[in-house]
């Protein structure tokens, strides 16, 4: 586990961002000023759990229950860290 993910961090979406589903394109989007990030696969579901109340371990646990057999413990902390480095999660 990466240092941030292990440190009790409770990820939350940065105030400028908006997570939304786009029914026209059938995708989850992160919308920023002047920029749209298309979240592929279950990226939108993961970001949707980043409400500032759950720890990274809590998010991993919840996803593991919802998607039995998926490698969430191996992939989700790194995904969250990558969004944090972009400044999209705080």
């Amino acid at each position: 586990m990466t240092p941030e993910a292990a440190s009790g961090w409770r990820p939350a979406l940065a105030p400028a961002l908006r997570l939304r589903h786009d029914p026209v394109r059938g995708k989850d989007l992160l919308v920023l000023p002047e920029r749209v990030v298309v979240l592929e696969g279950s990226g939108g579901t993961v970001v949707g759990l980043c409400d500032g109340t759950r720890t990274v371990q809590g998010i991993v646990g919840e996803l593991a229950e919802r998607f039995p057999g998926a490698p969430v413990a191996a992939t989700v902390p790194a995904f969250l860290d990558s969004l944090r480095r972009e400044g999209w999660l705080t």
Partner: protein, 381 residues
């Protein structure tokens, strides 16, 4: 002209809403057309609400609420709320003049997500001179403070030209001091007012080279804090810009009177016959109108664009620039070094301009009128 066909273009991402062409500023490079739309022709509140509802259904994700000065619309809060209801992320594009705490609070309550503020120069007097309005710089400084206090993301937009390229370093200091998240340094695009003022705005090659060096140095320093966007000076680079990400490919512009255009300058192209929201649904305009299909794809291309390996990257450059310089909107953009018309651009960048002419400030009636109309004006005077 392309007939309506079974081909359906991908949905647009963004809508530029020119809510009004009225503006307290008079910048000589304004992106509004020379023929400014009258206030009496502007769409009503209900018409804008309907446009934004249709835009959301069509797939628009971002709207830039612009002008002129959008704060001059007393119904701006309702227009923001309509965008928010349609799931569209709103950005206010403003001069800052007329923004106070109560107005910003009302806009934020209606769902406003971010603000882009225009800045003309880092020096207040020079900024006011370019904007053609005393006190405009002070209003911007005040507006930036309000936006930061409200917790909204703040972008600064600076149009670069002969009169401010030497101040890029100071402009970036100002952006940091004002707490901007993003700075767009946009070299002037020469259509409409910019073309009318081209001789006054055209920088020297040395000025541009120094500004570029500054931007590279500051980009490293500011990494992770302030996003720095450099919009290329296409006259100097010899490379056509991928204008609008392609004609009718990414975004659409709705003018104050409801005319819908592939880009803000496209009304200048003769015979385009742009459709309006008062006559057609937005989805038909995007997918099927002759104006939006006219330069889609690559079949319309002429000259060196046909068969060029870059044609899917720069889309032949800018149609409005091709028309403005050659009289034919389907020619290769003269900014491209491969264009047979490239000399038209080179002559401008190489012209010796020890003294630049004065600005023709953007004002209704300030642009040269067609000859008969000008004669009539002279008689009246």
């Amino acid at each position: 002209m392309t007939a309506p066909s079974a081909f359906s273009p991908p949905p647009p991402w963004a809508l530029l809403a020119e809510l009004t062409h009225a503006c307290p500023l008079h910048c000589p490079y304004c992106s509004n057309p020379l023929d400014l739309a009258r206030r009496s022709r502007e769409l009503t509140t209900e018409e804008w609400e309907d446009v934004l509802r249709q835009a959301g259904e069509l797939g628009v994700v971002h709207t830039h609420l612009s002008g002129g000065e959008p704060l001059l619309r007393p119904d701006l809060e309702r227009i923001v709320a309509a965008a928010e209801d349609a799931g569209i992320y709103t950005q206010l594009v403003t001069s800052g003049t007329g923004l106070d705490e109560a107005r910003l609070a009302a806009l934020t309550a209606a769902g406003l997500r971010s603000v882009q503020l225009s800045v003309q120069h880092a020096d207040p007097r020079a900024g006011d001179r370019i904007a053609g309005r005393a006190g405009s710089f002070a209003a911007k400084e005040h507006a930036a403070r309000l936006v930061r206090r409200a917790g909204l993301p703040l972008g600064l937009n600076v149009v670069l030209h002969r009169g401010n390229l030497d101040a890029v370093d100071a402009l970036l200091d100002l952006a940091v001091a004002w707490g901007a998240d993003r700075v767009e340094l946009a070299n002037t695009q020469y259509y409409g007012w910019g073309l009318l003022n081209r001789a006054a705005l055209m920088p020297t090659r040395d000025q541009l080279a120094r500004a570029r060096q500054t931007v590279e140095r500051r980009r490293e320093q500011l990494a992770g804090r302030t996003d720095l966007v450099w919009v290329v000076p296409d006259y100097f680079d010899g490379v056509a810009k991928p204008c609008m990400g392609g004609w009718g490919a990414v975004s659409l512009t709705v003018a104050p009177d409801g005319t819908v255009l592939p880009c803000p300058a496209a009304a200048s192209i003769p015979g385009l016959d742009p459709p309006g929201v008062r006559d057609h649904p937005l989805a038909w305009i995007w997918r099927h109108s002759p104006a939006f299909n006219r330069f889609r794809g690559t079949d319309w291309m002429t000259g060196p664009c046909r068969g060029c390996p870059r044609r899917e990257e720069d889309f032949g450059g800018c149609r409005c620039q091709a028309f403005a310089l050659t009289g034919d909107a389907a020619r290769t953009d003269p900014a491209c070094a491969l264009s047979p018309d490239h000399h038209l651009v080179r002559e401008q960048t190489e012209a010796d301009r020890a003294v630049a002419p004065p600005y023709v400030y953007r004002r209704p009636g300030a642009a040269p009128l067609p000859a008969p109309a000008r004669a009539a004006v002279t008689e009246d005077a």
